[in-house]
Assembly symmetry: C2
Homo-oligomer: 757 residues x 2
């Protein structure tokens, strides 16, 4: 194996080494010069430890059998993980919760008109793939948290089934009222599809994997290639996580044995209509039997048919019944105590449950977390003592709706709010580029980490590779210039879809979400073919990116745990807020311009003049032009954050020049106490409009995108939904939050200044 | 039948009537008030004459049997058309030429590795379609003017087979040297595909109709729907028309019996490698047998396969042999003498030959021309006498390479250069919007005509409907604003692909190309299914757009033939030139920016850093940044044209206010003589670089686009091909041409001024 030599670079300085080697006496954000020297030594030791062959063996073990929530191998895996943590010197335990988890009792999709066809709803064994035949242990193909139902109705094809698709259907004269819709996977989180379908009066929902989404359109199908075969199905939860994730029976509270539980009828996060997922082999006969208007160009997939919308003549019978059981889930929680600050926690997590064997999702990243744990244990043996406590978690029940992480976060909410410094998540890994997502108060910090990890394929810093990728992908000269000149690469804001959500958006804990991807494609997501055979043939087959992830996330943990001054930084955050505020302004202006233009075209008769009389294409509805709204409170608040951030940065620079070690440790701890609060200040106790569980005022999953983030969500969604008074109210609320943040940053600057005297 | 009432509108005034009715005393460009009144009366009579049922019956007759060049029914049709012209009072005759026309002797496409497959190369009878079984008279599926050849080689998929596709292939590490390429139809004229393939070393070329091009991706296939069925093939010529169209043996001269003919070996417009077209039914097994890199996303069609590039393992045997015969072609030429100016000709043409039955191409527009001829004959009976001569032509051999029109234009070149005022072409018709293409000196005139024709589906002027369509389609607020406020809708510049080419680009005769389309789609182009059954089920089934075309083209003829002052106008032309000149500037700047950026990215290592090591993706080649070139001569020349155009327009306005009738007719004729020359002045005797047949310096078909136009082609193609000294030379040549035009326009203004005194 190639020996790994870490490149230690000046944090934020962009002084990149083309080929990695140990740099001379580098500075590190939050470390005095002496401390940085020691830290670098430990980091060098740390990054040398993770071994690809270990990752491979962990994966072989963890993906050997299906291990969904409540299954025998799920519990065995939790215990195996527990044993590993203990073996590596961690103080570990399993924490269990009891959660609602429906599993299929009956599943039927049949076409009853104009011809008969019964969908198979089964994924066949692939002979070369040794785990694909474990049918007894595999969960059938289904969408968890679909309500039970038995409906027969004409079919309508609704493209991705997002709100704009229904606007288009209306113009095309097609109604889904009383119909079963068939939507293709993609463009939104799957739970949005039945939600929007039900809002438009549909009585059932089928979601299928079009071969244009992740099938033969993209590449050879499994087992010849990585892509979804004809009978491959994407399972998945359709719980309405945009209201709240976690156990539907215990919103806001840990699902402990004695927790107060809602009755099933009072649950708010089940679908309104029955839902099942389909393979394209099962979907094709249904779609081919549709008549009515031909689907718009961009709605057509890669099946060898003409895509029609219906309704009918295809009529479909859909029956879904579940066993509505309470199942135990098993989170593994392991700890290394903090030597100096035991009550400051760096939390790291990845889920261990899968829909089936889950080699890619989640095992490919779970094994990185395990190898980090082994490496940190190794350092402990060598005498390393982190200043802060480190808590490593292996979540259960993520696939069903972030159950394990949410219940744990809810159960320990009060303590976490006091103690958590940051949460670092991962959830799947492959070859390619570092996925950089998270809280912007950690943007500078995370850029520093990314500059110190070497890409295994290109032998340059992963930071540099990502920068070059962003240069390649930039769609304008301006964006390219920004990528080239901005000190830090931007972090993507976090929406949802993985276990950071309860930490970031419910508790206000600064979070990061990490993983490598961009080079492997594939179509095994949530199918029985996401297994060891697939992963070791088509993804990070040598596990060098697994090692890179262990190095990346581990280094972030190490550095956060060891820093004298917590490496939060606010100038990137403030500048990012500025872009979000500008986005809102543009959003409003775009809406005004669009509606004004559309109304003008209605007056001119554009839509009637350009409608082919042989087809239905109704004019869009006339709408009122959105009013101007008062964004000034937000703009002023952002301005204030910006000023405070500058002040803090200037003080930080002074500290860096003076050396933090000159400072009074107790005074530094007063700064740290404030910094730990900086993300909490971005929350409000009563949360977002109509979804109080989501307390963060800067980031939230979109009500109609699901995984996709909405930044400044209160204001943005009010504008999108044309609720103007609500938009103005939300502007005041978020401005209030930012003013509190400004105060905190100012206080931190003052305390830091004091600490330096 | 609904009675047609024409709306006569102020030319260029934009004063549109929402519902058509006879307007009060309207002004007409080129007519005195009195003359306009009389003209309107004749125009009203004229537009009332064309009848849909006649169009239907002409189509039934002309598309009853295959009637390609040299076939029995082709000659019968020419004679039938001749008889109709004579019946309607025209002085008509058939003018024949003898041209090289290869027809298939042997055709073979077979896959010899890794499996055996022999392509059918046949279009089956469709039972409900009564003419689809005329196999004895149908030309087999082939590409005319392919050289003979017999090659066996690995297959490579080259997307559309245009130059950029080969740049991409090079980056993907795929060479076509020694290979047979398979390209899909689309994106360029078909003859470009074998030309570019041969330039890159391919030894054979297959061109297939992907179902994403005009098959099931777009709609139900024939006979259920309008789109190309599995075995439907697009025939077509692959002669290199971008060098010269017409008989390959007699470039530049009429192919009369005693014409001097080249030997076959000296012909420059045959392909370099053998070519055959394929149906997607025949193409799918070949494409499915390819391995190698997966084709880039945008290269993938709608077949249910993963598109690979090859080369191989599919190996293909391609054999093509033709009968290289000389065949007679029969142009029908009919004439109404000019009462006042017998030596000023308004020429109108449409071809009558088809690849097979050709109901849509060309009969749907040929029948409109016939109905115009009947209507004009009717007016003659009622006492109308056009000032100028009117010549109606039905061309033969268009499909093979504009043979009939080119040979006639070449045979009569000298006379046409002296006498032709304008040429008005059509070539196929359907439902929808008026296709406005032509010389910009006629832009204002043609806008005036379009304002006077009522759209049969929407009961508004076709001009207005097109304006609203362009508003709907505009991709920016700026473009929408231009469509709304510019007095005239822009004419598309003409490239090639129909019979206007010899008139416009060889002889310099101002031309228009007219037709309706945009609402019917279909996939029967150049197949046996382009027939009466298809057209009367899926296109302009009530022939109301056939009537609209007869009204539109006929009105243009009538008005040009009757005008006192020829309705040429130069301000639109000058403004259009300005946009072309700006385009060139932008083209150069874009190329400079792109290459500078690409070189920078090469320096940064963007391409190596973002290349997946599991796939081949080579960096693009480093190129020299294009130098700045001196565009000033062109810019000054355009400025001068603009000034002269203003002067002419001002004088014209004075004439309009004074009434042209106050002017001295002999003096007006001096102006007309100049105006007739205005398009001729845009040509140079030695033509464009490397293709002297193309003499027009403003419009030409692109050397690598075929049908697609290149404006200011000498300069533009020199820049595109990075021939910088040639670009500078061409700037001077086109500036010289424009200076001559400026002089002519100035002289016309002076003469017109004189005529008014």
């Amino acid at each position: 194996m190639r020996r790994f030599v870490v490149a230690l670079l000046l944090a934020g300085a962009g002084n990149l080494l083309a080929s990695p080697q140990a740099g001379p006496s580098p500075a590190l954000l939050g470390f005095s010069e002496d401390a940085a020297r020691i830290e670098h030594q430990w980091e060098n030791k740390f990054t040398a430890i993770p071994q690809p062959e270990n990752l491979r063996e962990y994966m072989r073990r963890l993906s050997a059998r299906p291990h969904h929530l409540g299954s025998p191998y799920n519990k065995e895996s939790a215990e195996w993980i527990l044993a590993r943590f203990r073996e590596w010197g961690w103080d570990a335990h399993i924490e269990s919760f009891d959660v609602l988890f429906p599993t299929p009792k009956e599943r039927l999709v049949e076409m009853v008109e104009p011809t008969q066809f019964v969908a198979k709803l089964e994924e066949p064994t692939v002979p070369v793939d040794p785990t694909s035949d474990q049918h007894d242990e595999q969960l059938p193909t289904y969408n968890a948290y679909s309500v039970d139902g038995d409906v027969t109705a004409p079919l309508v094809y609704v493209n991705y089934g997002v709100p704009q698709d229904y606007e288009q259907l209306e113009r095309l004269g097609v109604s889904v009222k009383g119909a079963i819709v068939i939507a293709r996977y993609g463009a939104s989180w799957r739970g949005i599809k039945p939600k929007v379908a039900a809002e438009h009066g549909a009585v059932g929902c089928l979601i299928y994997s079009d071969p244009r989404g992740d099938g033969y359109f993209d590449g050879d199908v499994f087992p010849e290639g990585a892509w979804r075969p004809r009978e491959g199905v994407q399972r998945g939860s359709v719980m309405d996580m945009t209201i709240h994730p976690g156990d539907p029976l215990t919103p806001g509270a840990g699902a402990t044995q004695d927790a107060k539980r809602l009755e099933l009828k009072d649950v708010t996060t089940l679908t309104k209509i029955p839902v099942l997922p389909l393979a394209y082999g099962d979907a094709q006969p249904l779609l081919a039997a549709l008549k009515g208007p031909v689907a718009p160009d961009s709605w057509r997939g890669a099946l060898p048919i003409t895509y029609h919308l219906g309704p009918g003549p295809a009529k479909v019978h859909l029956r879904v019944k579940a066993n509505w059981d309470i199942k135990p889930l098993h989170d593994v929680v392991a700890r290394i105590p903090g030597a100096a600050y035991p009550d400051e926690w760096i939390v790291r997590g990845n889920h261990h449950d899968a829909w089936v064997n889950g080699a890619e999702d989640p095992v490919s990243a779970m094994v990185a977390e395990l190898e980090e744990a082994r490496a940190l244990g190794e350092l402990i043996k060598q005498g390393w003592r982190p200043r802060r406590a480190i808590i490593y978690c292996a979540w259960d029940g993520e696939e069903e709706g972030l159950l394990g992480s949410t219940e744990w976060a809810e159960a320990h909410a009060e303590e976490l709010r006091r103690k958590a410094v940051a949460y670092i998540n991962s959830d799947g890994n492959g070859r390619g580029y570092l996925e950089l997502g998270g809280s912007h108060t950690l943007e500078r910090f995370m850029n520093g980490v990314a500059k110190d990890i070497v890409d295994p394929e290109k032998n340059i810093a992963v930071w540099r590779r990502l920068q070059l990728k962003r240069i390649a992908d930039a769609d304008s000269a301006e964006k390219r210039e920004e990528v080239r000149t901005r000190a830090d690469l931007r972090l993507a804001a976090l929406g949802s879809g993985s276990d950071f959500t309860p930490f970031l958006q419910h508790l206000g804990i600064a979070s990061l979400n990490l993983g490598y991807d961009g080079e492997d494609g594939g179509g095994i997501y949530h199918s029985i073919y996401d297994d060891f055979y697939w992963y070791t043939h088509f993804s990070d087959t040598t596990f060098v990116y697994g090692r890179a992830l262990a190095q990346t996330a581990g280094l972030a943990v190490l550095r956060l745990a060891d820093a004298e001054l917590l490496p939060f930084e606010f100038s990137d955050f403030a500048e990012t807020l500025q872009t979000y505020s500008d986005d809102l302004k543009k959003l409003l202006k775009t809406k005004q311009d669009e509606i004004r233009e559309r109304n003008r075209e209605l007056d001119e008769g554009v839509f009637t003049a350009t409608a082919d009389p042989k087809r239905t294409l109704l004019p869009p509805p006339r709408e009122d032009v959105p009013p101007f709204i008062n964004l000034a409170p937000l703009e002023n608040a952002v301005e204030n954050v910006t000023r405070a951030a500058k002040k803090y940065s200037a003080t930080l620079e002074k500290a860096r020049q003076g050396g933090t070690s000159a400072a009074d440790p107790a005074a530094i701890q007063r700064v740290n106490a404030l910094l730990m609060e900086s993300e909490r200040k971005l929350t409000l106790p009563d949360g977002l409009p109509a979804r109080p569980w989501y307390k963060h005022q800067i980031y939230a999953p979109g009500l109609y995108t699901g995984y996709g983030v909405k930044t400044l969500p209160g204001v943005r969604e009010a504008i999108e939904q044309k609720k103007w008074p609500e938009a103005e109210r939300e502007i005041l609320r978020v401005a209030g939050v930012l003013d509190a943040e400004t105060q905190l940053i100012n206080s931190a600057a003052v305390e830091l200044e004091k600490a330096l005297r």
